[in-house]
Amino acid sequence: MTDGIIVSSETSEGAFELLTKGRELSKELNMELSALVIGNKNDKNMQSYFEYGAREVLLIPNSRTGTLDAETCTHVLSEIAKENGPDIILITSTRLGKEIAGRVAQRLQAGCVTDAVGLTIKDQELVIDRYALGGNTISSEIIKTRKKVVSIMPRTFEAHPVPVEGKIKTLDIEIPRRRVELIERRKKVGESVNIESAETLVCVGKGLSKKEDLSMLNELCAALKGELGCTRALSSDYHWISEDRMVGISGKRCKPKLHVSIGISGQIQHTVGIMSSKLIVAINKDKEAPIFKIADYGIVGDLYQVVPKLTQRIKMLGS
């Protein structure tokens, strides 16, 4: 297969998003679309890749690979994409995916853009958007090499099924011995929260003066039926809130319908994670705080006064 687009993701949901976008790109560029699956052949999900538009599913049986790791995935993807293999490689930009993207690009001597938030075709060229300068700007970029590696932020595109006929091709690729040995994998304890898919997100920052006061925020979240998120300071520095809830350039990027920002000045490292919210509400006592510049609605006031009042009002609506 030449002139193709191949998608690779840790999860099938991730692959469906990329296939949905890949379908659009493959039509415009007149390219074949395939998906790489490293896993069990009997996986009932295999058929669903065709439902999202993959003409071909390339399968590496996981009996050959064991756990998914960057070294193995890099090897497999590079072997598939080299020479006459697909030219455009789309990878979900999880941490694993991002590492693989850089390594595959180096192996293929290809240009690479990571953490893409948009893909479009302009004059038959693939134009990739990503945040730059710490989130101050959006940079639109073109990869000049024939092989192009792009990692795309999770949940950038919405998956839509459009079933096609496709085939499964089992690949026989020699997997080299791992140089990095996995000793143990620990699921992160406590929460299995996924704030990235929350419809309503309340984020709190350094305006909160002590951990105990989080109860006030939890009450607001309950009233709004939303999830709680936070800035890096509150999770990485103070350890008040688990890192699963950290929003920003080194945390999660969310696109809720309603985002309520509380006691957050609005530094770009954090706001990058909320930029795609449909509606942004900011509460901050500093009228000059940058957060108000990106807000749809705001209240200038002390969060300790505003939040209880707001919670009460919203509760009253519900009763």
């Binding site: 941490r95 590492e99 240009g111 134009v127 710490g134 101050n136 639109s140 309503t200 009228k287 200038v300």
Partner: protein
């Protein structure tokens, strides 16, 4: 370590949405400092020589003093106007050449991403170029002999992995808190060895770096368009909360 402009100070031109970068001070990114701090801690615990390596502009000579003050023993900097506009591939090639010139090494520590573009490619490209393994997103590190045990954070899980040196390691901000160097260290920093190299010193043809050789072309780099309403309520808080709730109801944003 990568020298970046002070991102907090970037202003956006209102008419064109272009960022204004002229005159901004330059510094090392936070996660680059995490990488350096970890190197210095390893040195303090096990004994090691810490070399700071950076490619950048003429201002780098001043920036690198901070890294030396934080505890690096030596700095190697690549200063060459031809590097201006290099993409990650060219930067990684330049760094790899400099690492080969330095000669022997056990660990190459990098931040998980630079403060400005956060592309996270340099570690991966270095590992591939030098043909050595890489452990990414490390938040805990311990070393015994030539075996490195690391706890890495891959979002849903933590992985404990083992690998032998030489090794590329990328660190996350959780790994440590970079120190503020005491004054005495700052004063001593300028007396530490600082090697300044050009591309010629590294045997790199200038046509292979810089914006002309870039594999990735930036066609525009502008602040996102703001389409926010910007309705801010001030004054009496009960009234403000009432107005806000009414507005949110109209937007159908409330449960």
């Amino acid at each position: 370590m990568k020298q970046v402009v002070d991102l907090q100070q970037i202003r956006i031109k209102r008419d064109t949405r272009e960022p204004v970068l002229e005159g901004l001070r330059v510094l090392f990114g936070d996660m680059d400092k995490n990488a350096l701090e970890e190197a210095v801690r390893i040195k303090e615990k096990l004994g090691a020589k810490v070399t700071v390596l950076s490619v950048g502009s003429a201002k780098l000579k001043a920036t690198v003093l901070e890294a030396l003050a934080m505890g690096a023993d030596e700095a190697c900097i690549v200063l060459d106007p031809a590097c201006e506009g290099s993409d990650t591939a060219a930067s990684a090639m330049t760094l790899a050449a400099a690492i080969r010139k330095i000669g022997s090494y056990d660990l190459i520590l990098v931040g998980e991403g630079s403060a400005d573009n956060y592309s996270g490619q340099i570690g991966s490209r270095l590992a591939e170029t030098l043909g050595i393994p890489q452990v990414t997103y490390v938040r805990e590190l311990s070393i015994e002999g030539n075996t490195v045990t690391a706890v890495r954070d891959i979002e849903a899980a933590l992985e404990v992995v083992k690998a032998n040196t030489p090794l590329v390691i990328s660190v996350t901000s959780e790994i440590n808190k970079p120190r503020w160097p005491p004054l005495a260290q700052i004063l001593r920093a300028s007396r530490k060895p600082l090697n300044s190299w050009t591309l010629k010193d590294l045997g790199i043809d200038p046509s292979r770096v810089g914006s002309a050789a870039s594999e990735v072309r930036v066609i525009s780099n502008l602040a996102p368009e703001q389409e926010r309403k910007g309705v801010i309520f001030e004054g009496d808080l009960d009234e403000a909360v009432g107005k806000l709730v009414n507005a949110l109801r109209k937007e159908r944003a409330l449960p």
